[in-house]
Every structure is written in structure tokens, then in C-alpha cells.
């Protein structure tokens, strides 16, 4: 069986093969046409670069307390003014951005991994695996998220968990209550995919379950996962901000956008010193909006079937 039978081959259409724009490339081209999504993407990239690189160029990066410069309004030396301890707001805003973005992305990775894995297992194996996973998901979904986080935040303070570790615990907490929504979506997609003709056809290849699950089924869900992951980052940033604002998440002196907003807590700061809380407020708002715009754009770009 060594020779070929090219004499019976039909001619391949050359333009088709030459046009080997992969699925990803095409999706990116579609995304590029979405003005708002691109604005979101560019904003996020600029934001990330500024937050991660900016502090290196700031003379105030040490965050030293300067009693001579307390609560000064914006000026040439301090573009966004200083806070109640005389620290530069702009520098802290950038440092906070690092943490908020990192927390958002890390808890997204964790919750998307958990959600995708559990949803995939439930949809693939069905039966009791499905029952157990989905009942746990149901229970988690009935628990209102914020009160639970408040309680856990309070418990963490009570137990005197070192403040440096709080941030990691907050991330894990956010992920642990964040997965059921995605798990449900992945499960229902899995149930459909399982019955698809190509998976039926793949049955005759004698592949292992693990291979079918991770190599054949999950890649079909990549678009869904990307969109959910993007939107999740926004959600996680918001949750972290809320927690930190109430002093339950990341604790000062480590800055986050949430705990910087804490300044708005006192009436005099709120009324007389808007430079304390407006910048972090705008940062949260603009970042989350950008993420949502990008997520919506990705949804359309990755799923051309869903045309409106």
C-alpha cells in the first residue's frame, strides 16, 4: 500500500488552501471591525502598560509618608494630588491598578478553570457525576455573593490572617462562588456536542475519555470560554473593589482601587477633596466598561453564526 492514487484525486481548489487564514485570524479580523470593542481593548492595553511600567518612572514609588504634603490638590509635582498621608495619588493609582488587574485576572483564571472543568465533566459523564456537580452549583447559586463575601471577610479579620495573604484568599473566595454560571453553560454545550455527528464519528476511533474531553470537546467551547473569561475579569475587579472599599479585601497600605475609594467615606474628603476618590472611581468604571465592551465584541467576533 505504498503507492499513491493521485490519478483519481479531484483537483484541490488552490485559492482555498492558499487562503489558509486560520479560524483565529478570521475572528480577529471580525473583532477589528467592532469599533467599541477595539476602544475597550486599546484602553485596557494602555491601562495595563501604564500600571505596570508607570511606577518605575515615579519619584514617589516608595510610598513614603510625607507629613508636609498632606491632602494637596493636583499640582505640577503631584499630577493628581496627594492623600491624607502625603503620598502621590497617581503613583498609588498605578500601583493599585497592578493589584486590581492581577486579582481580576487570577480569580478569573481560577473560576473559569473550575467552571469549565466541572461543567465539562458533568456534561460528558452525565449520571451521578452530573447530579453531584450541578446540585453543588445550584446551592452556590442560591447563596447571595456579597453577603457571603462580607461574612468571610469578617471571619478573616477575626482570625487575624496576615494582611499580605488576604489578597490570595479573596481571589480564591471569588472563584469558589463564581464558577456555577459558567459550569451550567459549559455543561449544556457539552450535552449538545456529545451528540454531534463528529463526536459520534470519533467514537469509532477508540480514544480515551480524557482525550475526547480535553482535545476534541473543550476546544469547541473556546469562544464561549474566552467571552466568559473576559467578562469575568470585570466582575472580579468589581467584587475586589467592593470588598476592599469596605476594608474586607486588600488592606492598606497596599493600594487597590477599592480601598483608595475608601476616602469617599468621610464627608469632608467627599465634598472638598474629590482628587482622593474620583481617579480610582474612574479607573474602576472605565476598566470594567472596557472589559464589557471587549467581551461583547469578542462574543460577536467568535460566533459568526449569531448575527443580529
Amino acid at each position: 500500500m505504498a503507492s499513491t492514487v493521485s490519478e483519481v484525486a479531484e483537483v484541490t481548489r488552490p485559492e482555498q488552501v492558499a487562503l489558509r487564514s486560520s479560524l483565529w485570524h478570521e475572528a480577529f479580523l471580525r473583532l477589528k471591525k467592532k469599533r467599541l470593542a477595539m476602544v475597550g481593548l486599546v484602553f485596557l492595553l494602555v491601562m495595563a502598560v501604564v500600571c505596570f511600567i508607570g511606577p518605575f518612572f515615579s519619584p514617589y514609588a516608595s510610598g513614603k509618608i510625607n507629613t508636609a504634603m498632606i491632602n494637596k490638590p493636583p499640582s505640577f509635582s503631584h499630577w493628581l494630588g496627594t492623600d491624607s498621608l502625603g503620598r502621590d495619588i497617581l503613583t498609588r493609582l498605578m500601583q493599585a491598578g497592578r493589584i486590581s488587574l492581577t486579582v481580576g485576572i487570577a480569580s478569573m483564571v481560577l473560576s473559569v478553570s473550575i467552571g469549565a472543568l466541572l461543567g465539562a465533566l458533568a456534561g460528558f459523564y452525565r449520571g451521578w457525576v452530573d447530579q453531584v456537580i450541578m446540585r453543588v452549583a445550584d446551592v452556590l447559586m442560591t447563596i447571595p455573593g456579597l453577603p457571603l463575601l462580607f461574612i468571610m471577610g469578617a471571619v478573616l479579620s477575626e482570625w487575624k490572617i496576615p494582611t499580605d495573604y488576604r489578597i490570595y484568599i479573596v481571589m480564591v473566595m471569588l472563584s469558589l462562588i463564581g464558577w456555577p454560571g459558567l459550569a451550567r453553560m459549559v455543561r449544556s454545550q457539552m450535552l449538545t456536542l456529545r451528540e454531534s455527528e463528529f463526536m459520534q464519528a470519533a467514537e469509532v476511533l477508540g480514544l480515551r475519555d480524557r482525550r475526547k474531553l480535553f482535545f476534541h470537546l473543550l476546544p469547541n467551547l473556546t469562544p464561549l470560554l474566552i467571552v466568559v473569561a473576559t467578562l469575568n475579569v470585570g466582575g472580579a475587579i468589581l467584587s475586589e473593589s467592593v470588598l476592599s472599599y469596605f476594608g474586607l479585601g486588600v488592606v492598606p497600605p497596599t493600594p487597590t482601587w477599592g480601598n483608595m475609594m475608601d476616602a469617599a467615606n468621610t464627608l469632608i474628603d467627599f465634598q472638598k477633596r474629590p482628587w482622593l476618590w474620583v481617579p480610582p472611581g474612574i479607573a474602576i468604571f472605565a476598566t470594567v466598561i472596557s472589559i464589557n465592551l471587549l467581551g461583547d465584541g469578542l462574543r460577536d467576533a467568535l460566533d459568526p453564526k449569531q448575527k443580529r
Binding site: M1, V5, S6, Q16, S22, E197, A202, L207
Partner: protein, 328 residues
């Protein structure tokens, strides 16, 4: 000589809302090494159900094999473990389907999909599997194999995809290749090319082929032996030439009435008057009796057994039974 596949008394039933569907009813089938056996019959007569039973891929939720033995290379496939069965599939037992367009995973490249069974069953490294995949693409007659390996299913035509399906099926040098109407969805010229390719594989690799079709023209081109099925039962078994020269069973005669000449393609199925019986209400009669123009009294009350004529042919019809056996 022992057969590669020997199916005895195989029955596969489906549960449906109207009742139990005897999709395969006491099937007998034999395929020798290097031989092509065609299963012919109208739509719904249980051809696919028979093939899926052999692969042990009848979905548990809707149906099951209720009796019989499926001997493959000395093993009864009904008795091997799930894990052993998995190792046979894609390896010694391969299968291709009717719809090449939807039988491949849309998000994996052609190359990746060919590599899958090779890495699983032959334990080849990724690199070696890649090289083998490209070899296989060339082998099934597609030029520029390297580029094709990197493309996605939606970039290829139906005929090319069916070649790819064949490449996947033969990747581990199977002993039996089951082809379930592999050309039905393709146009006629492409169909001829695919049949050529399958014949070439059979000749060069001595792969036994179980070919399912309802097209007698394809039977004439492909088969060594023919098994005619009607309503889940085998009604006639015969070497191909004898079957076309002298069909015995009235159903086979009906199928051939449109006179497809041996070695001539495109003979469409002559439609026999009447309809395939409702599979849930089959009684004790010959299932074909209400469409048969030679029906006898006994046909309405008793099923004819599949009788070996001693000349390599078998037929299940009272016309070929001795008077004494027919009784009455």
C-alpha cells in the same frame, strides 16, 4: 477457513414510543480476510444498526444487543471488556460514515485528526504521527499533503473529506473496515473515485471490507459476497455474480427488477410496491408477505428459515423449501 467476522443469531432492539423495534433480528453474517461483503436493503432495514452492533456502539439509552455472538478474529466481541473494545476500535476495527462533511471535528486540523488514532493505538510520538499522517494523506490521493494537514475541515470538499475519513480509518492498518454508505452523500464522479480508492486499499492491504449500501450499482462494483436484508432479517446471502444472474428471494428479484447490469453504476433501487412493514408490529409471518407476488399460504403464518442451499448461497423463503417441510 475461519472467517474474520462471524456473526451468529445477532438481535439488536431499540426502544421506541410505539414499542420495541427489532432493528436487527437473528442476523447471520460472515466476512473472510481480504473479502468485501456488501449489505444491501432499503432504508430502515437495520444495516447501520448491524454495523453499530458489531462496533458495540449502540447507545445504551435507546437500544441494546439482546442476543447472539459476534466473533472477530477469534474473540466474541460481546464478551470483551469495554476497555478492550476501545482498543480494537480505530485499530483493528475501523469505520467510515455517510456524511464526511459533518464527521470531522470543525476546530481541529485535518492532520491532528489523522494523528489521533495513530498516537493512541500505535504509541507513535507526535512527530512520527505527523509524518505518518502526511503519508496517509498522499496515500488516499490528495496532493500537497503538508498543506492539507494544516487545514481545517471546512476548507475541503466533500470528496476530499471522505478521503480523509478513509485515511483516518486505515491509519492503523485495520483488519476490518466498515463503510456505512460512504458514497451516498457524494456526486457520481467523486463516488467512483472513492470506490476505486477502497478497492485499491482492499487489494493492497488485504483489508476486509463490510460495505453497507442501498445502491445495487455499488454492490456490483464492490462486492465479493452480498447479504440482502429486509426488516432486520437476512433474506438472501450469495456471491455477487450468482446473485445478479439468478436472484432467488422475491425481494432480491424485486430489487433487481430495474435490471442494473453488472459493472454498470448508477442503477437506482427499483421500488417494490407496498411499504416496509412497521417494525414494531411484525408477527410470525414472512415479513415480506404483503409485498410478495408469489406468496404462499404458509408465508402468512410462519417465518421461513435461512436455509443453506449448499452452493454457497442461502435464502429465507418458503418457495425453496421442500413440500414436506412447508407442510399443509
Amino acid at each position: 477457513m475461519n472467517a474474520l467476522v462471524e456473526i451468529q443469531n445477532l438481535s439488536t432492539y431499540f426502544k421506541s414510543e410505539q414499542g420495541v423495534v427489532k432493528a436487527v433480528d437473528a442476523l447471520e453474517l460472515r466476512v473472510h480476510e481480504g473479502e468485501t461483503v456488501c449489505i444491501v436493503g432499503e432504508s430502515g432495514c437495520g444495516k447501520s444498526a448491524a454495523a453499530m452492533s458489531l462496533m458495540r456502539l449502540i447507545p445504551e439509552a435507546v437500544g441494546s444487543i439482546v442476543s447472539g455472538e459476534i466473533w472477530f478474529a477469534g474473540r466474541d466481541l460481546r464478551k470483551v471488556s469495554k476497555e478492550e473494545m476501545r482498543k480494537l476500535r480505530g485499530n483493528e476495527l475501523a469505520m467510515i460514515f455517510q456524511e464526511p462533511m459533518s464527521s470531522l471535528n470543525p476546530v481541529l486540523t485535518i492532520g491532528e485528526q489523522i494523528m489521533e488514532p495513530i498516537m493512541e493505538h500505535q504509541g507513535l510520538s507526535k512527530k512520527a504521527a505527523q509524518a505518518r499522517a502526511i503519508e496517509l494523506i498522499e496515500l488516499v490521493g490528495i496532493p500537497r499533503a503538508k498543506e492539507i494537514a494544516k487545514s481545517y475541515p471546512y476548507e475541503l470538499s466533500g470528496g476530499m473529506l471522505q478521503r480523509i475519513m478513509i485515511a483516518i480509518a486505515i491509519s492503523c492498518n485495520p483488519r476490518l473496515l466498515i463503510a456505512d454508505e460512504p458514497t451516498t452523500a457524494l456526486d457520481v464522479t467523486i463516488q467512483a473515485q472513492i470506490l476505486d480508492l477502497l478497492r485499491k486499499i482492499k487489494d493492497e492491504a488485504q483489508t476486509a471490507i463490510l460495505f453497507i449500501t442501498h445502491d445495487l450499482g455499488v454492490v456490483a462494483e464492490m462486492a465479493d459476497h452480498v447479504v440482502v436484508m429486509y426488516a432486520g432479517k437476512v433474506v438472501e446471502v450469495s456471491p455477487v455474480v450468482e446473485l445478479f444472474e439468478e436472484p432467488k428471494h422475491p425481494y432480491t428479484q424485486g430489487l433487481l427488477r430495474s435490471k442494473p447490469v453488472l459493472n454498470q453504476r448508477r442503477a437506482k433501487l427499483y421500488s417494490i410496491p407496498g411499504q416496509v412493514p412497521n417494525p414494531t408490529t411484525l408477527g410470525e409471518s414472512c415479513y415480506f408477505h404483503d409485498r410478495c407476488d408469489q406468496c404462499l399460504d404458509i408465508c402468512r403464518v410462519k417465518q421461513p428459515p435461512l436455509r443453506d442451499g449448499g452452493d454457497g448461497r442461502k435464502v429465507a423463503c418458503w418457495l425453496y423449501e421442500e413440500e414436506s417441510v412447508r407442510g399443509q
